[in-house]
């Protein structure tokens, strides 16, 4: 914990992130580029045809969406329990990123569902869970925006995020239960052939690295914006 608190100092965070950010950005570009290249090099699936291409942009988006919420939850915990000052900023910065990843997961999921099942939305258990996740993101961001006092907003949002993260497994479980009740279809079922695994893993890594890159950038931006605000108030 001690070393983590060293980075609670915005100054230290800026110094550290100035080094890490370009590395993350480069890593993101490389993995995404490589992943895309391999994705277009694999043969079409025996059963699914070229719709297997959806795999490479749908699953990474889903994973990044969940990871982003996890990051928000961890930051919220730090904020509430250890009063880590940068945590609030970090949590808020991650939210729009997570929301976009979630929306991408839904859109690519719908475009995957149409050729497979004939309609854009089939109330597949995973997609339905992700739709609810999108609302969790929107509610979180709305709470931040609607409370004027920043300290209050931060704490309220942190509480909401922790309640959300506890609820997510419950929501998933209940949606799974619900989909078996109504015999829903499933877009992504069964094993993934090994030839698809490498590009998939690369794309997943690429999306995660892109999230980290943008996240660090947004936190840096927020720190600088606060400095500017303090200067204006001081003057």
């Amino acid at each position: 914990m001690q070393s983590l608190f060293a980075y609670a100092n915005p100054h230290n965070f800026m110094r550290l992130s100035r080094v890490v950010l370009p590395i993350a950005a480069l890593a993101a570009a490389v993995t995404l580029g490589l992943g895309l290249y391999l994705a277009f090099a694999v043969p079409p699936d025996y059963q699914q045809g070229s719709t297997v291409m959806m795999l490479f942009i749908h699953v990474p988006a889903d994973v990044a969406a969940e990871a982003a919420y996890g990051a928000i939850a961890v930051c919220s915990l730090f904020s509430l329990v250890w009063r880590h000052p940068l945590s609030d900023t970090a949590a808020r910065a991650a939210a729009p990123l997570g929301a976009v990843f979630t929306a991408l997961g839904l859109i690519t999921g719908a475009l995957w569902g149409k050729p497979m099942w004939g309609t854009y939305w089939v109330w597949d258990a995973r997609l339905t869970s992700f739709l609810l996740l999108l609302f969790l993101y929107l509610g979180y961001m709305a709470l931040w925006s609607s409370i004027e006092d920043e300290t209050r907003a931060a704490r309220a949002a942190a509480i909401l995020a922790l309640i959300g993260v506890v609820n997510i497994p419950i929501i998933k479980f209940s949606v799974d239960w619900w989909s078996t009740l109504h015999q829903g279809e499933s877009i992504l079922s069964g094993k993934i052939a090994p030839v698809y695994l490498t590009p998939l893993l690369l794309m997943m890594a690429g999306y995660m690295l892109l999230f980290v890159t943008l996240w660090l950038l947004r936190i840096r931006t927020a720190i600088i914006e606060r400095r500017a605000r303090n200067l204006m108030v001081g003057a």
Binding site: S50, I57, A61, V100, W112, L217, I224
Partner: protein
Amino acid sequence: MNFEMGAYGVYVWPAYAISALALGGLTLWAVIAWRRAKARLAALEKKT
């Protein structure tokens, strides 16, 4: 390289396009906000 999507192309390509646009847009948004904040801070620091 396999760019032949057959009948499914009408779904695959828009999906990739939307993903690229969304992620590219996010990146652009983040970078622009960063540059703007930096410029503003520099201007304010020059005054004080």
